[in-house]
Amino acid sequence: MITCPTAAELQTALDAFDRRDGPPDGRHVFLTRVADNARALLAREAALRETAEAEETERLSTLLGADGDFRELNRHLCQALRSGAIAPRDPALLAHLRATAIARIAVDQPSYCGLEALLDA
């Protein structure tokens, strides 16, 4: 589940923007561009989310040696990191974080240069 914001929240903000007539100033031009980006993001998320979430859940399950849904397992991982049960630069952890970061950026911002940098490393 991709949050902060969820796709539904994003759609709500987009609908509100589309309903409003702003003055044609610099701010409105800027927001129009942001809205176009939001529409493209939602299209990518619709295409990619299901697979990405299934794969992330499976990785979490292997990493933690536990079963559960995505939310439970992800919370479990956060708690293990916070308590120190898993070290922050543990190789198996970093492999999971790398795969997750790559899947997220494919939805949120596929042209972000940090992806190329990560794959180059």
């Binding site: 949050t3 902060c4 914001p5 929240e9 994003l10 903000a13 987009l14 509100a16 923007f17 100033d25 610099g26 701010r27 031009v29 800027f30 927001l31 942001v34 809205a35 980006n37 939001a38 993001l41 992800n74 919370r75 991982l77 956060c78 990191l81 916070r82 120190g84 070290a87 922050p88 630069r89 952890l93 970093l94 999971h96 974080l97 790398r98 997750t100 970061a101 790559i102 997220r104 950026i105 939805v107 949120d108 911002q109 042209s111 972000y112 240069c113 940090g114 992806l115 190329e116 940098a117 990560l118 490393a121």
Partner: protein, 325 residues
């Protein structure tokens, strides 16, 4: 509020030969602070920075009058900054605001990093940024308004607390907090830190290079390496990730400019810890801006979308956790 009308009334106080203000226009950008460009009828180009009606000041920010005082103090160090013309009073009818001279140049990182117009100044820009940061960091304490002091551990603790309040469950951030807590550099004698020295807040002229350091709202006292690390955060490299300093220069050029202007020695490793801390901070700031959408404070599409920039900081943090010593 009619900003244009208030500026027209204020005009004679901004320049003795002016009778009114013209061409007032809001520049694109953030919702926590408005920036207006306008001219006086005698031709003086000016900028108004003001807190929007009803907007709460940034929690840790010192306010616009303090920002104006900092710009004046920075000017005395020789650092390039705009000339402050007027700090607004309640009778001006503009709320919390100040007026400064408008500089010619470009702040958009994408253009500075890519446009041919900046080909000539780009090679010297990282060195120049180091030079200017050393000037800022040398500001005498006696010249400064009261400011908060922070260090790496303090910054981490503050941003972790904010992150906890949001209940966001981001494993990359959990790992990065623990990693950086263990790797955080020990405090040094604090200096004036700009706090937001990066593309977007640097006015770059195609011939003059760095002609103005803008947006002093996050200035504080702290570790000089904070400013050097912040401009190397990948989020402001605009595609040019192989050039760590703002997408236009190398670490060594930044550090050389800093040392040659009398800045104290800063090891690259210390700078990079602050760079990683910068990515983490920017990620938490994106979450905070999303939170202002989620709680209805600012329901704009901009605030919603910035939450999806958290993943850019996550991918950068993963790379740093994989590759740093």
């Amino acid at each position: 509020m009619d900003v244009a009308a208030a500026l027209a009334r204020l005009a004679p106080r901004l320049s003795p030969s002016a009778t009114t203000a013209v061409n007032a226009r809001r520049l694109s950008g953030g919702a926590s602070l408005e920036t207006w460009a306008f001219d006086l009828d005698d031709g003086t180009p000016l900028i108004l920075r003001r807190r929007p009606d009803g907007a709460a000041p940034r929690e840790t920010a010192p306010g616009l009058a303090v920002e104006a005082a900092l710009i004046v103090a920075a000017a005395r160090t020789g650092a390039p900054v705009p000339v402050v013309v007027h700090v607004c009073e309640p009778d001006d009818g503009l709320g919390e605001a100040f007026v400064m001279r408008r500089l010619e140049g470009e702040t958009l990182g994408k253009r500075i990093v890519r446009d041919a117009a900046f080909d000539d100044v780009r090679p010297g820009l990282a060195w120049r940024c180091g030079h200017v940061l050393a000037q800022i960091h040398a500001a005498p304490m006696a010249d400064l308004p009261p400011l908060a002091t922070s260090d790496a551990r303090g910054e981490l603790a503050r941003y972790e607390e904010i992150y906890r309040q949001m209940d966001a469950e981001r494993p990359v951030f959990e790992a990065a907090f623990r990693w950086l807590e263990a790797a955080a550099p020990d405090p040094v004698a604090p200096v004036l830190v700009h706090g937001d020295f990066r593309n977007g807040n640097l006015m770059i002229h195609p011939e003059g290079g760095l002609v103005g350091v803008l947006d002093w709202e996050l200035a504080h006292l702290g570790d000089p390496a904070e400013d050097l690390g912040w401009i190397c955060v990948n989020s402001w490299r605009f595609g040019a990730w192989r050039r760590p300093v703002g997408g236009f220069g190398d670490y060594q050029a930044l550090l050389d400019g800093y040392a040659e202007a009398g800045g104290r020695e800063i090891p690259l490793a210390r700078l990079q810890i602050w760079q990683a801390l910068g990515s983490l901070k920017w990620g938490v700031m994106c979450l905070m801006m999303y939170a202002s959408f989620a709680n209805g404070t600012d329901p704009s599409i901009e605030r919603a979308m910035i939450g999806r920039r958290v993943s850019e900081t996550e991918i950068d943090l993963v790379r740093l956790m994989e590759t740093m010593a």
